[in-house]
Protein backbone atom coordinates (compact mmCIF):
# COMPACT_ATOMS: atom_id res chain seq x y z
CA UNK A 1 0.00 0.00 0.00
CA UNK A 2 1.07 3.60 -0.60
CA UNK A 3 2.96 4.66 2.59
CA UNK A 4 0.70 7.66 3.31
CA UNK A 5 -2.47 5.57 3.01
CA UNK A 6 -0.89 2.81 5.06
CA UNK A 7 -0.03 5.20 7.88
CA UNK A 8 -3.37 7.03 7.80
CA UNK A 9 -5.45 3.85 7.89
CA UNK A 10 -3.56 2.56 10.92
CA UNK A 11 -3.97 5.87 12.75
CA UNK A 12 -7.62 6.33 11.84
CA UNK A 13 -8.68 2.76 12.60
CA UNK A 14 -7.01 2.84 16.03
CA UNK A 15 -8.90 6.06 16.86
CA UNK A 16 -12.26 4.80 15.61
CA UNK A 17 -12.16 1.44 17.33
CA UNK A 18 -10.82 2.67 20.68
CA UNK A 19 -13.21 5.64 20.54
CA UNK A 20 -16.12 3.25 20.07
CA UNK A 21 -14.89 0.88 22.78
CA UNK A 22 -14.43 3.66 25.33
CA UNK A 23 -17.84 5.09 24.46
CA UNK A 24 -19.31 1.84 25.79
CA UNK A 25 -18.69 3.23 29.29
CA UNK A 26 -21.12 6.07 28.63
CA UNK A 27 -23.78 5.87 31.32
CA UNK A 28 -21.95 3.06 33.10
CA UNK A 29 -18.88 4.86 34.43
CA UNK A 30 -17.83 4.54 38.06
CA UNK A 31 -19.08 8.01 39.04
CA UNK A 32 -20.94 10.69 37.11
CA UNK A 33 -18.00 13.07 36.63
CA UNK A 34 -15.66 10.32 35.43
CA UNK A 35 -18.37 9.01 33.11
CA UNK A 36 -18.58 12.44 31.49
CA UNK A 37 -14.80 12.84 31.22
CA UNK A 38 -14.22 9.35 29.78
CA UNK A 39 -17.13 9.69 27.34
CA UNK A 40 -15.84 13.08 26.19
CA UNK A 41 -12.45 11.60 25.44
CA UNK A 42 -14.05 8.71 23.59
CA UNK A 43 -15.93 11.26 21.51
CA UNK A 44 -12.64 13.09 20.88
CA UNK A 45 -11.17 9.89 19.50
CA UNK A 46 -14.09 9.44 17.11
CA UNK A 47 -13.46 13.06 16.06
CA UNK A 48 -9.80 12.25 15.42
CA UNK A 49 -10.78 9.29 13.27
CA UNK A 50 -13.09 11.53 11.23
CA UNK A 51 -10.26 13.99 10.58
CA UNK A 52 -7.95 11.18 9.51
CA UNK A 53 -10.59 9.47 7.32
CA UNK A 54 -11.17 12.90 5.75
CA UNK A 55 -7.48 13.05 4.83
CA UNK A 56 -7.91 9.64 3.22
CA UNK A 57 -10.96 10.90 1.36
CA UNK A 58 -8.89 13.76 -0.03
CA UNK A 59 -6.44 11.15 -1.33
CA UNK A 60 -9.20 9.36 -3.24
CA UNK A 61 -10.42 6.82 -0.68
CA UNK A 62 -14.14 6.32 0.01
CA UNK A 63 -16.30 8.59 2.19
CA UNK A 64 -15.50 8.45 5.95
CA UNK A 65 -18.87 6.82 6.78
CA UNK A 66 -18.35 4.19 4.11
CA UNK A 67 -14.85 3.43 5.32
CA UNK A 68 -15.90 3.35 8.97
CA UNK A 69 -19.14 1.39 8.68
CA UNK A 70 -18.93 -0.97 5.70
CA UNK A 71 -15.62 -2.77 6.10
CA UNK A 72 -15.26 -6.10 7.86
CA UNK A 73 -12.66 -7.01 10.47
CA UNK A 74 -9.94 -8.31 8.10
CA UNK A 75 -10.00 -4.92 6.31
CA UNK A 76 -9.18 -3.01 9.49
CA UNK A 77 -5.63 -1.90 10.31
CA UNK A 78 -6.04 -1.22 14.03
CA UNK A 79 -3.85 -2.93 16.59
CA UNK A 80 -5.52 -5.63 18.66
CA UNK A 81 -5.16 -3.57 21.84
CA UNK A 82 -7.97 -1.21 20.85
CA UNK A 83 -10.52 -3.89 19.99
CA UNK A 84 -10.48 -5.78 23.30
CA UNK A 85 -13.75 -5.50 25.26
CA UNK A 86 -13.87 -2.77 27.91
CA UNK A 87 -13.65 -5.29 30.76
CA UNK A 88 -13.46 -3.85 34.24
CA UNK A 89 -12.59 -0.19 34.70
CA UNK A 90 -9.01 -1.01 35.74
CA UNK A 91 -8.39 -2.55 32.32
CA UNK A 92 -10.00 0.33 30.43
CA UNK A 93 -7.92 2.87 32.38
CA UNK A 94 -4.72 0.89 31.82
CA UNK A 95 -5.41 0.63 28.08
CA UNK A 96 -6.20 4.36 28.03
CA UNK A 97 -2.88 5.08 29.77
CA UNK A 98 -0.76 2.86 27.51
CA UNK A 99 -2.47 3.87 24.26
CA UNK A 100 -2.75 7.60 24.94
CA UNK A 101 0.92 7.98 25.79
CA UNK A 102 1.77 6.45 22.43
CA UNK A 103 -0.88 8.61 20.77
CA UNK A 104 0.40 11.86 22.31
CA UNK A 105 3.99 11.08 21.29
CA UNK A 106 2.92 9.92 17.84
CA UNK A 107 1.06 13.12 17.08
CA UNK A 108 3.89 15.21 18.52
CA UNK A 109 6.18 13.55 15.99
CA UNK A 110 3.59 13.88 13.23
CA UNK A 111 3.44 17.64 13.83
CA UNK A 112 6.56 17.85 11.65
CA UNK A 113 5.48 15.20 9.12
CA UNK A 114 6.47 15.81 5.50
CA UNK A 115 2.78 15.30 4.66
CA UNK A 116 1.55 18.76 5.60
CA UNK A 117 -2.21 18.00 5.90
CA UNK A 118 -1.39 15.35 8.50
CA UNK A 119 1.07 17.67 10.27
CA UNK A 120 -1.70 20.27 10.53
CA UNK A 121 -4.13 17.81 12.11
CA UNK A 122 -1.42 16.67 14.51
CA UNK A 123 -0.64 20.22 15.63
CA UNK A 124 -4.30 20.99 16.11
CA UNK A 125 -4.92 17.95 18.32
CA UNK A 126 -1.93 18.51 20.56
CA UNK A 127 -3.78 20.16 23.44
CA UNK A 128 -6.62 17.66 23.33
CA UNK A 129 -4.21 14.75 23.60
CA UNK A 130 -2.40 16.51 26.42
CA UNK A 131 -5.58 16.43 28.48
CA UNK A 132 -6.13 12.75 27.66
CA UNK A 133 -2.61 11.92 28.92
CA UNK A 134 -3.15 14.08 32.02
CA UNK A 135 -6.34 12.18 32.76
CA UNK A 136 -4.62 8.82 32.32
CA UNK A 137 -1.58 9.80 34.39
CA UNK A 138 -3.65 11.20 37.24
CA UNK A 139 -5.65 7.99 37.63
CA UNK A 140 -2.64 5.74 37.14
CA UNK A 141 -0.74 7.58 39.88
CA UNK A 142 -3.77 7.75 42.13
CA UNK A 143 -4.85 4.10 41.83
CA UNK A 144 -1.28 2.82 41.60
CA UNK A 145 -0.61 4.17 45.08
CA UNK A 146 -4.04 3.59 46.66
CA UNK A 147 -5.39 0.52 48.48
CA UNK A 148 -4.02 -3.02 48.17
CA UNK A 149 -7.00 -3.93 46.00
CA UNK A 150 -6.42 -0.98 43.67
CA UNK A 151 -2.71 -1.71 43.31
CA UNK A 152 -3.34 -5.42 42.73
CA UNK A 153 -5.98 -4.71 40.07
CA UNK A 154 -3.84 -2.14 38.27
CA UNK A 155 -0.84 -4.51 38.37
CA UNK A 156 -2.89 -7.34 36.90
CA UNK A 157 -4.25 -5.06 34.18
CA UNK A 158 -0.80 -3.72 33.38
CA UNK A 159 0.67 -7.23 33.08
CA UNK A 160 -2.21 -8.32 30.85
CA UNK A 161 -2.25 -5.21 28.66
CA UNK A 162 1.45 -4.53 28.02
CA UNK A 163 1.95 -7.26 25.35
CA UNK A 164 -1.08 -5.88 23.47
CA UNK A 165 0.25 -2.34 23.85
CA UNK A 166 3.49 -3.40 22.17
CA UNK A 167 1.34 -4.33 19.18
CA UNK A 168 0.71 -0.60 18.66
CA UNK A 169 4.24 -0.44 17.25
CA UNK A 170 3.86 -3.30 14.72
CA UNK A 171 5.54 -2.27 11.48
CA UNK A 172 4.17 -2.74 8.00
CA UNK A 173 5.95 -3.26 4.67
CA UNK A 174 5.78 0.49 4.13
CA UNK A 175 7.83 1.30 7.26
CA UNK A 176 11.17 1.99 5.53
CA UNK A 177 9.56 4.34 3.04
CA UNK A 178 7.48 6.06 5.75
CA UNK A 179 10.68 6.93 7.58
CA UNK A 180 12.80 7.81 4.54
CA UNK A 181 10.14 10.10 3.11
CA UNK A 182 9.86 11.99 6.39
CA UNK A 183 6.20 11.02 6.91
CA UNK A 184 6.90 9.73 10.41
CA UNK A 185 9.87 8.92 12.65
CA UNK A 186 8.95 5.24 12.68
CA UNK A 187 7.52 2.69 15.11
CA UNK A 188 10.80 1.68 16.79
CA UNK A 189 11.64 5.27 17.60
CA UNK A 190 8.11 5.86 18.89
CA UNK A 191 8.24 2.74 21.04
CA UNK A 192 11.45 3.99 22.68
CA UNK A 193 9.90 7.36 23.49
CA UNK A 194 6.73 5.66 24.75
CA UNK A 195 8.61 3.34 27.08
CA UNK A 196 10.46 6.27 28.59
CA UNK A 197 7.23 8.23 28.97
CA UNK A 198 5.15 5.50 30.64
CA UNK A 199 8.08 4.46 32.83
CA UNK A 200 8.30 7.96 34.30
CA UNK A 201 4.69 7.80 35.44
CA UNK A 202 4.77 4.18 36.59
CA UNK A 203 7.88 4.94 38.67
CA UNK A 204 5.63 7.15 40.80
CA UNK A 205 3.37 4.21 41.66
CA UNK A 206 3.71 0.98 43.61
CA UNK A 207 3.34 -0.97 40.37
CA UNK A 208 6.10 -3.24 39.13
CA UNK A 209 7.09 -2.79 35.52
CA UNK A 210 8.38 -5.91 33.82
CA UNK A 211 11.16 -5.83 31.23
CA UNK A 212 8.77 -4.54 28.58
CA UNK A 213 10.96 -5.15 25.56
CA UNK A 214 11.41 -8.79 26.61
CA UNK A 215 7.64 -9.41 26.37
CA UNK A 216 6.17 -11.04 23.28
CA UNK A 217 4.13 -8.36 21.48
CA UNK A 218 0.65 -9.22 20.23
CA UNK A 219 0.98 -8.50 16.52
CA UNK A 220 -1.10 -8.98 13.40
CA UNK A 221 -3.61 -6.14 13.68
CA UNK A 222 -1.84 -3.96 11.14
CA UNK A 223 -2.25 -6.82 8.61
CA UNK A 224 -5.92 -7.46 9.30
CA UNK A 225 -5.49 -10.26 11.83
CA UNK A 226 -7.82 -9.51 14.68
CA UNK A 227 -9.28 -11.02 17.84
CA UNK A 228 -12.79 -12.49 17.81
CA UNK A 229 -13.93 -9.25 19.46
CA UNK A 230 -13.57 -6.92 16.49
CA UNK A 231 -16.29 -8.19 14.14
CA UNK A 232 -19.07 -8.04 16.80
CA UNK A 233 -17.92 -4.50 17.62
CA UNK A 234 -18.17 -3.51 13.95
CA UNK A 235 -21.61 -5.10 13.61
CA UNK A 236 -22.86 -3.23 16.65
CA UNK A 237 -21.26 0.08 15.66
CA UNK A 238 -22.69 -0.07 12.14
CA UNK A 239 -26.10 -1.44 13.08
CA UNK A 240 -27.95 1.84 12.59
CA UNK A 241 -25.92 2.93 9.57
CA UNK A 242 -26.64 -0.34 7.78
CA UNK A 243 -30.40 0.08 8.23
CA UNK A 244 -30.20 2.71 5.50
CA UNK A 245 -26.70 3.43 4.18
CA UNK A 246 -28.03 6.21 1.95
CA UNK A 247 -29.66 8.16 4.80
CA UNK A 248 -28.40 11.68 5.38
CA UNK A 249 -27.74 12.23 9.09
Amino acid sequence: MNPTLDLLYRLADDQLILGHRNSEWNGLGPILEEDIAFSSMAQDKLGHSLQLYSLLRALGEAEPDTVAFTRNAPQFHCCQLVELPIGEYDFSLTRHFLFDHAELLRFEALATSSYEPLAQVARKLRGELKYHALHANTWMKRLGTATDEAIERMQRSLDFTLPYALGIFEKTDAEAEIISSGLFVGEDELRGRWLESISKVLAQTALEVPDVLALTPVMGGRYGQHTEHLQPLLDEMAEVFRLDPTADW
Partner: protein, 231 residues
Amino acid sequence: MIHSHDPRMNRLGLPDAPATAAAKGALDQFGTYEAFHQKKEGAPFVYVGPVHAPEADVAFLFAKEQYSRRFACTGLWVVPTAAITVTDYVGDQEWAYDSLPLLTNQQAAATATADPRFGDDTAAEEAAYAAGEEDYDIFHLKKRGKAHQHVGKVRANSPAQALQVAKAVFGDQRPVVNVWAARSADFLRSDDEDRDIWTTTPDKKYRDAISYKVQDRIERFKAETGTSQAD
Protein backbone atom coordinates in the same frame (compact mmCIF):
# COMPACT_ATOMS: atom_id res chain seq x y z
CA MET B 1 -32.80 -10.42 33.24
CA ILE B 2 -33.31 -6.97 31.83
CA HIS B 3 -33.63 -6.98 28.07
CA SER B 4 -32.69 -3.64 26.51
CA HIS B 5 -32.34 -2.21 23.02
CA ASP B 6 -28.89 -1.18 24.19
CA PRO B 7 -26.63 -4.22 23.71
CA ARG B 8 -24.25 -2.91 26.35
CA MET B 9 -26.98 -3.28 28.95
CA ASN B 10 -27.73 -6.84 27.88
CA ARG B 11 -24.08 -7.71 28.27
CA LEU B 12 -24.23 -6.65 31.91
CA GLY B 13 -26.79 -9.37 32.66
CA LEU B 14 -28.70 -7.18 35.10
CA PRO B 15 -31.61 -8.68 37.09
CA ASP B 16 -35.13 -7.36 36.40
CA ALA B 17 -35.37 -5.77 39.81
CA PRO B 18 -32.44 -4.25 41.63
CA ALA B 19 -31.21 -6.26 44.58
CA THR B 20 -32.07 -4.59 47.85
CA ALA B 21 -29.14 -2.29 48.35
CA ALA B 22 -27.41 -2.29 51.70
CA ALA B 23 -27.81 1.03 53.46
CA LYS B 24 -24.84 3.22 52.72
CA GLY B 25 -22.84 4.75 55.50
CA ALA B 26 -22.60 8.49 55.82
CA LEU B 27 -19.75 10.11 53.90
CA ASP B 28 -19.23 7.24 51.49
CA GLN B 29 -19.03 9.77 48.64
CA PHE B 30 -16.12 11.89 47.54
CA GLY B 31 -15.94 15.42 48.88
CA THR B 32 -16.77 18.36 46.65
CA TYR B 33 -14.70 21.01 44.92
CA GLU B 34 -15.96 24.22 43.34
CA ALA B 35 -14.87 25.12 39.79
CA PHE B 36 -14.32 28.54 38.18
CA HIS B 37 -13.61 29.13 34.51
CA GLN B 38 -12.30 31.99 32.40
CA LYS B 39 -14.04 32.43 29.08
CA LYS B 40 -11.35 34.51 27.44
CA GLU B 41 -8.01 36.01 28.28
CA GLY B 42 -8.32 38.95 30.67
CA ALA B 43 -11.89 38.10 31.67
CA PRO B 44 -12.60 37.45 35.37
CA PHE B 45 -12.91 33.86 36.55
CA VAL B 46 -16.55 32.92 37.05
CA TYR B 47 -18.07 30.16 39.18
CA VAL B 48 -19.43 27.26 37.13
CA GLY B 49 -20.32 24.55 39.64
CA PRO B 50 -19.17 21.69 41.86
CA VAL B 51 -17.59 18.30 41.19
CA HIS B 52 -17.11 15.29 43.47
CA ALA B 53 -13.49 14.19 43.66
CA PRO B 54 -11.02 12.50 45.99
CA GLU B 55 -8.34 15.17 45.50
CA ALA B 56 -7.66 18.44 43.68
CA ASP B 57 -5.91 16.84 40.67
CA VAL B 58 -8.93 14.65 39.98
CA ALA B 59 -11.30 17.56 40.63
CA PHE B 60 -9.48 19.49 37.91
CA LEU B 61 -9.82 16.59 35.43
CA PHE B 62 -13.53 16.37 36.15
CA ALA B 63 -14.19 20.12 36.09
CA LYS B 64 -12.44 20.40 32.73
CA GLU B 65 -14.88 18.02 31.02
CA GLN B 66 -17.89 18.87 33.16
CA TYR B 67 -17.75 22.64 32.73
CA SER B 68 -15.52 23.42 29.75
CA ARG B 69 -16.42 20.78 27.19
CA ARG B 70 -18.49 23.03 24.94
CA PHE B 71 -17.42 26.66 24.75
CA ALA B 72 -14.19 28.62 24.56
CA CYS B 73 -12.18 28.57 27.77
CA THR B 74 -8.76 29.92 28.70
CA GLY B 75 -8.41 28.90 32.32
CA LEU B 76 -9.86 26.76 35.12
CA TRP B 77 -9.55 26.82 38.93
CA VAL B 78 -10.79 24.31 41.49
CA VAL B 79 -10.93 24.76 45.27
CA PRO B 80 -12.33 22.50 48.02
CA THR B 81 -15.87 23.59 48.90
CA ALA B 82 -14.91 23.53 52.58
CA ALA B 83 -12.15 26.09 51.92
CA ILE B 84 -14.66 28.80 50.96
CA THR B 85 -15.97 31.22 53.58
CA VAL B 86 -19.37 32.58 52.65
CA THR B 87 -21.16 35.71 53.86
CA ASP B 88 -24.92 35.83 54.39
CA TYR B 89 -27.01 36.10 51.24
CA VAL B 90 -28.83 39.43 51.13
CA GLY B 91 -31.59 40.79 48.90
CA ASP B 92 -30.84 42.31 45.51
CA GLN B 93 -31.28 45.81 46.95
CA GLU B 94 -28.91 45.23 49.88
CA TRP B 95 -25.12 45.01 50.23
CA ALA B 96 -23.65 41.70 51.42
CA TYR B 97 -20.75 43.38 53.23
CA ASP B 98 -23.28 45.01 55.57
CA SER B 99 -24.00 41.54 56.96
CA LEU B 100 -20.43 41.16 58.29
CA PRO B 101 -20.07 41.44 62.06
CA LEU B 102 -19.04 44.84 63.32
CA LEU B 103 -15.37 44.99 64.17
CA THR B 104 -13.92 45.52 67.62
CA ASN B 105 -11.59 48.49 67.82
CA GLN B 106 -8.60 46.17 67.79
CA GLN B 107 -9.86 44.34 64.67
CA ALA B 108 -10.58 47.61 62.96
CA ALA B 109 -7.04 48.77 63.63
CA ALA B 110 -5.63 45.51 62.22
CA THR B 111 -7.80 45.72 59.13
CA ALA B 112 -6.87 49.32 58.55
CA THR B 113 -3.23 48.32 58.18
CA ALA B 114 -4.13 45.97 55.34
CA ASP B 115 -2.64 47.33 52.16
CA PRO B 116 -5.35 47.83 49.55
CA ARG B 117 -2.72 48.31 46.86
CA PHE B 118 -2.31 44.56 46.76
CA GLY B 119 0.96 43.33 45.29
CA ASP B 120 2.46 46.82 44.88
CA ASP B 121 4.81 46.85 47.82
CA THR B 122 7.17 43.88 48.07
CA ALA B 123 8.66 44.80 51.43
CA ALA B 124 5.26 45.27 53.07
CA GLU B 125 4.11 42.06 51.49
CA GLU B 126 7.01 40.07 52.90
CA ALA B 127 6.52 41.55 56.34
CA ALA B 128 2.84 40.61 56.21
CA TYR B 129 3.59 37.01 55.18
CA ALA B 130 6.21 36.76 57.92
CA ALA B 131 3.52 37.86 60.37
CA GLY B 132 1.29 34.99 59.25
CA GLU B 133 -0.93 36.74 56.75
CA GLU B 134 -1.96 34.93 53.58
CA ASP B 135 -3.53 35.75 50.22
CA TYR B 136 -7.24 35.23 49.72
CA ASP B 137 -9.24 35.24 46.49
CA ILE B 138 -12.49 37.20 46.70
CA PHE B 139 -15.62 36.52 44.65
CA HIS B 140 -18.76 38.65 44.39
CA LEU B 141 -22.26 37.62 43.47
CA LYS B 142 -23.98 40.61 41.87
CA LYS B 143 -27.46 39.21 41.63
CA ARG B 144 -29.19 36.11 42.96
CA GLY B 145 -29.35 33.43 40.31
CA LYS B 146 -26.16 34.66 38.62
CA ALA B 147 -22.67 33.25 39.22
CA HIS B 148 -19.96 34.43 41.60
CA GLN B 149 -17.22 36.35 39.85
CA HIS B 150 -13.59 36.86 40.88
CA VAL B 151 -12.91 40.48 41.88
CA GLY B 152 -9.35 40.20 43.19
CA LYS B 153 -7.14 39.20 46.08
CA VAL B 154 -6.60 40.52 49.58
CA ARG B 155 -4.08 39.67 52.29
CA ALA B 156 -5.33 38.75 55.74
CA ASN B 157 -4.65 36.53 58.73
CA SER B 158 -8.02 34.72 58.71
CA PRO B 159 -11.02 34.22 56.39
CA ALA B 160 -13.08 36.55 58.60
CA GLN B 161 -10.46 39.24 58.29
CA ALA B 162 -10.18 38.61 54.54
CA LEU B 163 -13.85 39.52 54.21
CA GLN B 164 -13.34 42.68 56.26
CA VAL B 165 -10.36 43.68 54.12
CA ALA B 166 -12.34 42.92 50.97
CA LYS B 167 -15.07 45.23 52.26
CA ALA B 168 -12.50 48.01 52.45
CA VAL B 169 -10.75 47.23 49.17
CA PHE B 170 -13.81 46.46 47.01
CA GLY B 171 -16.17 48.68 48.97
CA ASP B 172 -17.08 50.78 45.93
CA GLN B 173 -18.64 47.82 44.15
CA ARG B 174 -22.43 47.53 44.08
CA PRO B 175 -24.53 45.46 43.90
CA VAL B 176 -23.06 42.60 45.96
CA VAL B 177 -25.54 40.09 47.35
CA ASN B 178 -22.98 37.50 48.50
CA VAL B 179 -19.20 37.24 48.96
CA TRP B 180 -16.87 34.23 48.94
CA ALA B 181 -13.32 34.27 50.30
CA ALA B 182 -10.88 31.37 49.95
CA ARG B 183 -7.18 31.07 50.65
CA SER B 184 -5.28 31.42 47.39
CA ALA B 185 -3.07 28.49 48.41
CA ASP B 186 -6.11 26.18 48.40
CA PHE B 187 -6.75 26.61 44.65
CA LEU B 188 -5.47 24.35 41.90
CA ARG B 189 -5.14 26.49 38.77
CA SER B 190 -4.48 25.65 35.15
CA ASP B 191 -1.08 26.73 33.83
CA ASP B 192 -0.88 29.25 31.03
CA GLU B 193 1.16 26.78 29.01
CA ASP B 194 -1.65 24.23 29.24
CA ARG B 195 -4.22 26.55 27.74
CA ASP B 196 -4.05 24.48 24.55
CA ILE B 197 -6.18 21.78 26.17
CA TRP B 198 -9.12 23.97 25.11
CA THR B 199 -7.90 24.78 21.58
CA THR B 200 -10.35 22.53 19.78
CA THR B 201 -13.32 22.92 22.13
CA PRO B 202 -15.15 25.61 20.10
CA ASP B 203 -14.91 23.33 17.01
CA LYS B 204 -16.89 20.54 18.65
CA LYS B 205 -20.26 21.61 17.32
CA TYR B 206 -21.49 18.04 17.60
CA ARG B 207 -21.65 18.60 21.35
CA ASP B 208 -24.35 21.27 20.93
CA ALA B 209 -27.94 20.21 20.43
CA ILE B 210 -28.46 23.36 18.38
CA SER B 211 -26.02 22.08 15.76
CA TYR B 212 -28.39 19.29 14.81
CA LYS B 213 -30.75 20.89 12.31
CA VAL B 214 -33.54 18.38 12.35
CA GLN B 215 -36.69 20.48 12.60
CA ASP B 216 -37.13 20.71 8.79
CA ARG B 217 -36.81 16.97 8.49
CA ILE B 218 -39.28 16.35 11.28
CA GLU B 219 -41.80 18.67 9.57
CA ARG B 220 -41.23 16.93 6.24
CA PHE B 221 -41.62 13.51 7.83
CA LYS B 222 -44.87 14.57 9.47
CA ALA B 223 -46.17 15.95 6.17
CA GLU B 224 -45.21 12.81 4.25
CA THR B 225 -46.62 10.37 6.77
CA GLY B 226 -49.65 12.44 7.74
CA THR B 227 -48.67 12.46 11.40
CA SER B 228 -49.29 15.52 13.50
CA GLN B 229 -48.77 16.76 17.03
CA ALA B 230 -52.13 15.30 17.99
CA ASP B 231 -51.13 11.76 17.08
